[in-house]
Subunit: 234 residues, 2 copies
């Protein structure tokens, strides 16, 4: 009888009654606040105000703020599209999935700060894993290799998008302001001639950074998929 990891998902939720607030309502408001003001903008008092209640009322439905974040976190994973692999074939299925995952994460930038802090144990996260696994099994992977392939793919998406979020947020809500970004980069990279040269090359070839990042993402994605396919053939 060892003690569980502390998480919302290891405690039974309070049975839902008709009167009063509900967990769903609270999570919905949490998501709105997170999307509107980011992780720092979420406070129990603001959330209470949005719900038309006292701040500490929330603690009746949720043990603490982290549990609230776990709930919001898992909700996001539910928004990722994963086509039925039997119809599209595994490569297109995974590709679609990866792009959808990226889009969803960029739309809810605050998840970037949660991935390193909260384990993803919610039903949506698990269901995502489950369906992803089926796609990889259909591709021909067996046993633990299914999990390894799964981990590699999601790792690539996470690792790409998380720094993207950092950039996006450090440019602070403003319009892209590409020129100032280049200026900044020129300044900090002044001691690295090769990096500077690369920067001007990028300037020549690529018009805006959004498509650059998307191209880079696609490049890495096919790289990973090619690597996985190589495994299947050996």
């Amino acid at each position: 009888m060892s003690k569980q990891i502390s998480s919302v998902w290891t405690r039974e939720p309070r049975p839902a009654r008709t009167p009063g607030r509900s967990r769903e309502e609270i999570v919905r408001a949490t998501l709105e606040l997170l999307d509107a003001e980011g992780l720092d903008g979420l406070s129990m008092r603001k959330l209470g105000a949005r719900l038309g209640s006292g701040a500490t009322t929330i603690y009746w439905y949720v043990e603490n703020k982290d549990e609230l974040l776990e709930l919001a976190y898992d909700h996001v994973w539910g928004q990722i599209a994963l086509p039925v692999p039997e119809e599209l074939g595994w490569r297109d299925t995974i590709t679609t999935f990866a792009h959808s995952m990226r889009r969803v994460m960029l739309f809810h930038p605050w998840v970037g700060s949660l991935i390193g802090r909260l384990p993803a144990l919610g039903p949506n996260a698990l269901s995502m894993s489950d369906r992803l696994r089926k796609a990889f099994a259909l591709a021909g992977f067996e046993g633990l290799d299914i999990d390894y392939a799964n981990a590699a793919l999601t790792a690539y998406v996470f690792g790409t998008v998380i720094p993207e979020i950092a950039w996006q947020s450090s440019m602070g809500g403003e319009e892209l302001d590409q020129e100032s970004m280049k200026e900044t980069f020129r300044h900090v990279a002044r001691d690295f001639p090769d990096l500077l040269e690369r920067l001007t090359e990028i300037n020549d070839k690529v018009s805006d950074t959004d498509t650059l990042r998307e191209t880079s993402f696609a490049f890495g994605l096919t790289t990973v998929l090619d690597g996985l396919e190589a495994r299947l053939r050996s």
Copy 2:
């Protein structure tokens, strides 16, 4: 004349005088505190106490707490080993690099929460990029492909390690306590029979989760490298 992205690296540091504290001293104390108590354990007052000074003294050397984190952040990237590619060949070089990066990150788990919040513009981060690029250039990549390969590789490492950190920290400093982890997982995954089946399979084949994660990391790494190599041949 557009305004810069706000960052320590875009401001000239205060010229160093002999008396009083120094930036290096403060960063060192910051790192100690971060390693000892994590990101939440770092507060200006605690840091001041450790330095034997008032909390607000720090603001003479640093604009705000985020700048302090940027400095500590960049310091970590300086600890990653990157062999000389001409000696080892690019694959071994990158492999060594990736493992070193993972080890360093796991040793300073708080970086996991910073990757999604602060852009990596410090000299160590840039120097890492620079040297990585050289390795990929030596491998045979050209032009933007060098950056894409670079991005793909670091994305994979980031994306693997960041969730690892989440697990590590959610088990709260305690010894691994594998049994309770399995118990937790069995509980949350109770509605996903395939996942449960996979879990027992893992239990049979793998003794401890540390080596499991390491195997998984190595699997994904060779996957990415294989994918990159496939690009080179086409």
